[in-house]
Structure formats: C-alpha cells, structure tokens
C-alpha cells in the first residue's frame, strides 16, 4: 500500500475530527480510536441522537457496518459510518453495554441498513436493540438456543431444530379470510433465487404486496472460523468462499487490506499491480456471471445470452487458473503480496490475456445486440425495480446496485488501494435507478476492468526483472498489537466488502466481522419490488446480483 496519500489524508482529517468531536459533544464518554477512523464511545441510549447528528450535520450518510462483540466485561456495538461522497471520511460510534443486560438503542430509525445488521448482531452475539421494529433472528432458525459468538455459548450442546418446532413454511394458516392476497414461498428451492434464498411473498393476483427475504440457509460461521485461524496463512482461504462465483481475489483483497492496515504491512508495488490485474479479471468473471444469470431470469431459460456469458467467462477463468493455479478457490493473495509470480513463460500469459482483451469489444457488442437493444428486454427492465438513491443510501447499498441509482461511489477511486490510482479508468454510473441501469453499469464496468487489465499487463511486461518483488517480509507468526481495531473495505464485485478486525495480542483475530455487500443490497429488495409484478420481483432479485454465500457467510 502506498502510504503517502494516506498521511496527507490524515493531516487533512485532523480538523475535521475535532469538529466531529465537538458535534457529538458531551455525549462522548471517551475516545476509542480505530486505525481507520476516530471512535467515540457513547451511552447506549444516545445512539439515535448521535447518529442523527452525524448523518444530518456532518454528512455521514452511509452506515457501512454494525459490528457487535463481547468482551470479558461488556458487550459492544460499533457503528462504522462513512460518507457516500468521500468514503475516506470515516467515524466509528462505539456503544458498550453491560454483560448482564445487553440492551442498546436501535439505529434503525436513522439508517434502514441497521435493521438487518442489528438483527444479525442479536442473532450471533446476543445484544438486544431496544425499539427495533423486527427483533427476530436473521441467519439462524428462530428455535436456536444461545448466541454463537457470545462467550458463554456452549458449542457442545446439540441444537435440535425440527421442522415442526421451526416456523413451518408449509403451514396453512397463511390464509387470510379478510383479504384476497395469497402467501407464496419463493424458495428456498426455486429456479431464480441464485442459491438458497427464501423470499416470503404476499401476492395480490400477480402483484407483489409484501416481500420478506429469509436468509441464513448457507450460513457457515465464516466469521467464527476466521477467528479460529491464524492471520498469516489460515484465514486467506476463507474469503474465496464468501462470494464464490469467481470473485475470489476481490474477497481476498478485503482481508489482505484489513490485516495490512492492522499490522502495518507494506506491499511491494509489483505485487500491487498483479493484485490489481487479478482482481479486475475476477470482476469481469463475476459480472459476466451476473449478466448471464440476469438474462436467465428475464429471458426465462438457458438461452443464448447465458451461454455466451459463460463461454466468455470461461476465458477469464482460464487466465485466472494460469495465474493462481485454481479456478474458483484461488487462495492467491498473501499478506504483503501474492503467493507467486506470473506463470512462466510470461509471454504466453501476456499473449493469452491480450487475446482476451482484444476479443472483448466484439463480445460486448454482441451482448448489446442481444440484450441492451432488445425491445422486449427493454420493456421488461426499464422502469422496473426502481431504487431511489436516497433509499439506496439508507439501506447501505453499494457497488453496481448503488451506481445504477446514480450514486457515484467506487472505493477503487474514492478510497484508493492497490494500483488503481495510477491507472486510467472511469467509474460507471447510470441514473435510471432500474433493473436496466444496473445491467448497463455491469456491462460498462466490464469494459473499464478490461482497460485496467490492459494497463497492468503493459506495466508487468516492462517491469525490470530484478525488481519483481512479490511479497514483502512478513513475520511467520503475525501478532498485531493487542486491542488494535480497524475496519477496511474494498470494492468487490457486488459492492463494498469490508472487514472489521480486532486483535487480542495473539496470532488469531479477537473479532473478525465481515461487511457483506450482498447482505445490504438484498435488504433493498422489498423497497424495489413492492407493488410490482412477480416477474419484476425475479428480475430485480437477479439485477441485485446476490451470492448467498456472501449474504449468509
């Protein structure tokens, strides 16, 4: 990571930080600064007050993540706030609560994204959020005993969750004699849910009246598994398994960036270029898949577009396989660099990549003929699944979903990491706010990624042979200083993929929290689809491009 701009930012932030402290004023109990942002500790009943002030007075309109954790003497909720206009402006609001009575005020009236985030914290850590409109579990079944990430949780105790004990999705009492609506379970096994998602839908004829996504079917305790692995080697394979549809390197970068920030690890420039190239290849592969499956949802069958998208994605996969040795679970990034240099012979690799880049414009125009300019596609997608920018911000939507609503935010540009700031590329935004815009954004991003890759290939080709340092010197056993905290995010294929890390002085993280872009993007589904038709619900779900592995973690 190049450090110079970071320092500059810190200097500029000083006055801003002071102003922030003045704004929160006497409500600040103490400071608990994180590596990425100033942290203010406040009382559990001041949450809404402080967050309203920070949102309305200081412009923190993005509740990026809500972390919850248990210490020996207290529970703690951390609200990681950012600004959509400038994501480097960050502030953490730390809300401790007692172990006996972990009750904290909900932030849901301030940020809609707190709704799901706090439900998850209740579910996994066990903090009660007072005033929360919907205090149910979200990832685990309603009948689950205990909160898995709390300290007194008994892992040995078997959990019996029978169908009859659990809310039965087949029960007949969904019949409402007063109205003419129909309750319909879309999923967990349905052709269009892109994984195991269960959308509880209420229909009035063909019109969607109410949507309630039920997630957690693919919950694999990723956070806890990461907390049990060592920083240096044991955690890196996990990120590949969050957004598992070929976005692996992007996810790995999120973890790498967080730890490199936590432990002040330098990354050689050469490795940053390789990382950038690999990540953008992954982005193309992920967007191709998004495009193909969205076409599948709208076209209604495994049609030409889907197959073409997969055919082209295959080329990217081959390149990634050459680079990393793997097709899906890359495990290629290392703290302080990458696992190995480009494959030999290098010329062959460059040629293959260039061939792909040369073919791409032709392929993109093919998609334009088949999808974008198709009139039936347009009547299906234009003005359906409307997501207003204000709503999107409130729900914490990021990535192509946000950019399709005209929110001009891309962490690659706004919070630079890797080699992005030295390269020439553009952030794609569309103002349509509909399913069509989100498709256009993804298609545009494929072309921008190609631009980035091309520049990286140029750089790598001319890189002097004696300066090809792929990893910096990182201690075999990494033990960051105790109680260092950081929250770092990268622009993954689906949006802002953030990781909160707290070190406890050992070689394993004290708390490892994943901010999943899909999780927050999915929470906008109800806003997008209520009042529209079933086919629009399916199309909107497809246009969000969720991967349940990342939603449920």
């Amino acid at each position: 990571m190049s450090t110079e701009p970071e320092l500059d930012a810190d200097v500029a932030e000083m006055s801003f930080e002071d102003r922030l402290e003045a704004l929160v004023g006497t409500r600040v109990l103490e400071r608990d600064d994180h590596k990425n942002a100033p942290g203010f500790v406040i009382r559990p009943d001041d949450v809404q007050d402080v967050l309203f002030d920070l949102r309305d007075e200081a412009g923190f309109d993005h509740l990026s993540c809500v972390t919850a954790q248990q210490y020996d003497d207290r529970y703690e909720s951390i609200y990681h706030l950012k600004q959509y206009d400038d994501p480097t402006r960050e502030v953490s609001v730390v809300v401790p609560t007692s172990t006996d009575n972990p009750v904290s005020q909900t932030a849901e009236p301030v940020f809609r994204s707190a709704d799901w985030a706090e439900r998850e914290n209740f579910d996994l850590v066990g903090i009660d959020y007072e005033g929360h409109p919907d205090p149910r579990r979200i990832l685990l079944p309603e009948t689950w005993q205990g909160h898995p990430l709390s300290q007194d949780y008994n892992q040995e105790k078997p959990q019996v969750v029978t169908l009859s004990e659990h809310a039965n999705p087949l029960q007949a009492d969904h019949k409402d004699t007063e109205t003419d609506t129909m309750f319909l379970n879309i999923g967990p096994h349905h052709p269009a849910t892109h994984g195991v998602l269960h959308v509880k839908t209420v229909l009035d004829g063909e019109t969607v009246v109410d949507v309630d996504p039920d997630i957690g079917y693919l919950h694999r305790c990723e956070e806890q598994m990461c907390e049990q692995g060592t920083y240096r080697h044991q955690i890196m394979p996990y990120p590949d398994r969050w957004d598992y549809v070929s976005a692996g390197l992007l996810n790995e970068w999120a973890y790498a960036r967080a730890v490199e920030d936590l432990a002040d690890i330098e990354v050689p420039e050469y490795a940053q270029v390789i990382r950038t190239m690999g990540a953008e290849l992954c982005r193309i592969a992920a967007h191709m898949l998004a495009l193909g499956t969205f076409a599948l949802d709208v076209f209604g069958d495994f049609t030409a577009v889907f197959q073409y998208a997969f055919r082209d994605r295959e080329v990217v996969q081959d390149i990634l396989e050459d680079l990393t040795g793997q097709r899906l679970m890359f495990n290629y990034f290392r703290l302080g660099g990458v696992a190995w240099d480009l494959p030999e012979p290098r010329e062959e690799f460059f040629e293959k990549t260039r061939d792909f880049l040369d073919d791409l414009p032709h392929k993109v125009s093919e998609y334009e003929d088949l999808i974008v300019t198709n009139e039936i596609f347009q009547i299906r997608c234009v003005d359906t699944g409307i997501l207003e920018p204000e709503v999107a911000k409130s729900y914490g939507a990021t990535g192509p979903t946000a950019r399709g609503s005209g929110i001009d935010m891309d962490l690659r540009r706004d919070d630079p990491y890797g080699y992005y700031e030295n390269l020439d590329w553009d952030v794609i935004t569309e103002d349509g706010m509909d399913n069509y815009s989100r498709v256009l954004v993804r298609m545009g991003e494929v072309e921008e990624s190609a631009k980035i890759i091309e520049q990286c290939v140029d750089l790598l080709e001319d890189w002097p042979e004696d300066d090809r340092e792929i990893q910096s010197n990182v201690p075999r056993t990494l033990k960051p200083e105790a109680d260092t905290e950081t929250y770092r995010a990268v622009e993954a294929a689906k949006g802002e993929l953030g990781i909160y890390l707290r070190s406890d002085g050992t070689d394993k993280p004290g708390r490892f929290k994943i901010r999943s872009p899909c999780f927050h993007n999915l929470s906008t589904l109800a806003e997008m689809t209520e009042g529209e038709y079933i086919p629009d619900l399916i199309a909107s779900l497809g246009s969000l491009d969720i991967v349940l592995g990342e939603v449920d973690r």
Binding site: L184, H190, E206, V298, G300, F302, Q307, I379, Y533, I534
Partner: protein, 372 residues
C-alpha cells in the same frame, strides 16, 4: 377465380377409404369401414407421435445447442439419437408422485386432455401423399376448437395440483389463451375469406394456383405470399397459443417454477410434455396448411408428405430460434399486446381482406360481363 375453381393437387380419396380398398375391409360394410378408420387413425397418430415424441426432443436439443454455441447429446448412439430411448427409460422409471391434496380425477385427466386435444387436431390436416384422415366442411373451425381444448387441460392441471405455482400458471394459461385465441381465429378467418371455404382440402387446393411468375419461376398463391401481414400476425398469435417464447408465460420456469406442470412427474409429466410438443407441431401443421400451401412443393405429388413435414419443421425451428434469442414478456404486457394490439390488427386485417376480396370479385365479374 378466388376460392372457386379446384386444382386437385392431391387425391380426394381419404386415408380410411384407401385402407378400406386396399385391405378389402371396405367390403364388410359399416364394421369394416370402422376398422379401416381405426387403422388409418393409428397410422397418422403414430406418425405424428414419432415425429413429436422421438424426433422433437432430440432435434430441440440439437437446435438449442447450435443456437447457444455448445454441444448437445452426442454420446448415446449415432448423433446421440438413442438418447430418446435412454430418456424414455429414465422418465418412465421415475416414481409417479401425486400431491396429497390433488383433486384426483382432474389431476389425472389433465395430461391426457393436453396431449389428446392436440392429437385430435391432426385428423383434419391434409398431409399430402394421400395421408388425410377426415375432411369435414368445417375443418378449420374444428382444428381451432380442438386445439382450444388444451386450455381446459392446463387449467385442470393448474387447479387440481394444489400448488400455488400451478395455480398461477393455470390462471396465466387461461388469460393468455383467451387473449390470443381470438386474434388467431380472426386472422384465420381472413384466409377463409380468400379461400371461400373452411374445408382443409379446399383451402390447400385454392393455394395451388400461380400467383405471379417471376423469371419463369411460378410463385404459388400461398396465403403467406398473398397476405404476409396475416401470416405474421398468425405466427405471433400462434406462439402465444402454444405458449412458447416470448410468450411462455404459463410455464415461466424462472418465475413460477414450471407453472401448471410443477407437480407432475413420471408418466404424467411425459404426457404433458408430449402434449406441448404436439401443440407446437399442430400449430406448425395449421400454419403449413392455411398459409404455406399444405403439402404443395416441387416434384411429384407423392412427395407431399415430405414437403409438409419440412414446413412443420420450419415452424418448429422458428420456435426454437425465438426461444434461444428472445426475452419473455411480462403477463400484463402480454395481455396488453393481445387485447390492444393483436386483436385490433386482426380485425383490421379481416376487414381489409374482405374489401380486397370483394373488389377483386366485382372486378372479375365485371370483366367477365365485358368479355361476354
């Protein structure tokens, strides 16, 4: 003169009579004729079933694969032809699961109605080479009527499955078929105005005349050439009628799982699937008969069946092409297209055709008077 004169392209003797003559069954009075009819129906039925049930699914895979840039079945037998055998064993070997709350007689009957209604339609189609089962005077009306029975089957399937997706699929099927059957029939009417008859053999015969001669090449008076507008309209309405892209809304796999057929398995599923294929081919047969000159084509009249099959397969190919390339419209958009667009166009076409035919006939009558 339009619709009047007859150029007997094919034998006017129907298949049952011919079989009666050949086998001598005709000598045995009513009973013999009846047996001859059964034999004829058996032959035609099996021909169609072989085409739709055996060749159809195989060709569908090959065609779709070609469109989507990949390989299709090519392992079992030459060109993967024996995949149908493997499929039959697989599908028939599956457990027949009937939902607990299924409305039994209706649930069991629906697949038979769907498949049977399409089979009935082939009875009046003149397929050339003397393969023509029956030739009632109301042939065209009969075909539309029996093809329409399929909607009843779809509703039965959707309602009786006790599944919400099936229910939505069934309702969609009705809404769609009502919206498209009227434009379909009205467009068919314009052909009837040209031909002056509902009898299938007469409609075919009327198209045998030469429309125009271009460079020594006779362009026959197929109604697709005479009235291309009606042809396109009919094609589009036909896709909705048989529920294929971009109008495959009653099934809509990504939206409502599989629509009315969600709960069907094993033999019942095969029957419904077969019924759908039969409907595609029946749609092709109707189009071939009333717009593409039926079995007409170059070469001796004995080749009629070949030309007829070629035309049916051309329509089938078109359905697969659309399936691979076009998105599905939404149900409300479909209804809108049907009622606000197609219906209006269909009636406009009908009125125009009536006027043109009326003018032509007056002209002809006038010229005849003058020359006389």
């Amino acid at each position: 003169m339009i619709g009047g004169s007859k150029t007997p392209l094919q034998d006017t003797i129907l298949l049952p009579e011919r079989i009666g003559d050949l086998t001598g069954l005709g000598e045995f009075g009513m009973a013999g004729e009846l047996i001859a009819m059964f034999i004829a129906a058996f032959i035609v039925g099996n021909l169609m079933l072989a085409m739709t049930g055996v060749a159809g699914p195989w060709a569908k895979r090959k065609i779709t694969a070609a469109f989507t840039d990949r390989y299709a079945v090519n392992r079992v037998g030459p060109f993967g032809l024996l995949i149908i055998v493997a499929d039959s064993v697989r599908l028939l070997g599956k457990e027949l699961i009937i939902p607990e709350n299924a409305d039994r007689p209706a649930y069991d009957l629906a697949p038979i109605v769907v498949a049977g209604s399409a089979m009935l339609g082939f009875a009046v189609i003149p397929m050339g080479s003397g393969i023509h089962l029956a030739d009632p005077e109301v042939g065209l009306a009969y075909v539309f009527a029996v093809a329409g029975i399929a909607s009843v089957g779809l509703v039965m399937a959707g309602y009786s499955s006790a599944n919400k997706y099936s229910m939505i699929g069934g309702l969609r099927a009705v809404a769609q078929n009502v919206a498209y059957e009227i434009p379909l029939v009205v467009t068919g009417m314009s052909v009837v105005i040209f031909a002056g008859t509902l009898q299938m053999s007469e409609i075919v015969a009327a198209q045998a005349e030469t429309l125009i001669t271009v460079g020594g090449l006779d362009i026959p008076m197929w109604y697709a050439f005479v009235n291309p507008f009606a042809f396109v309209l009919f094609l589009a309405a036909n896709f909705a009628e048989i529920g294929r892209n971009p109008f495959d809304i009653p099934e809509a796999p990504t939206e409502i799982v599989a629509g009315y057929q969600t709960e069907y398995s094993s033999v019942y599923f095969v029957l419904i699937y077969l019924g759908e294929f039969l409907h595609i081919f029946l749609g092709g047969a109707i189009i071939a008969t009333i717009f593409l000159g039926g079995p007409a084509g170059p070469g001796p009249a004995e080749l009629g069946i070949v030309w007829f099959l070629v035309k049916i397969w051309a329509v089938f190919l078109l359905t697969q092409w659309l399936r691979s390339a076009l998105p599905r419209v939404r149900i409300d958009q479909l209804i809108e297209i049907g009622w606000k667009g197609m219906l209006v166009l269909a009636f406009a076409n009908l009125v125009l055709t009536a006027i043109i035919v009326g003018l032509l006939e007056t002209d002809l009558a006038l010229s005849m008077v003058i020359f006389a």
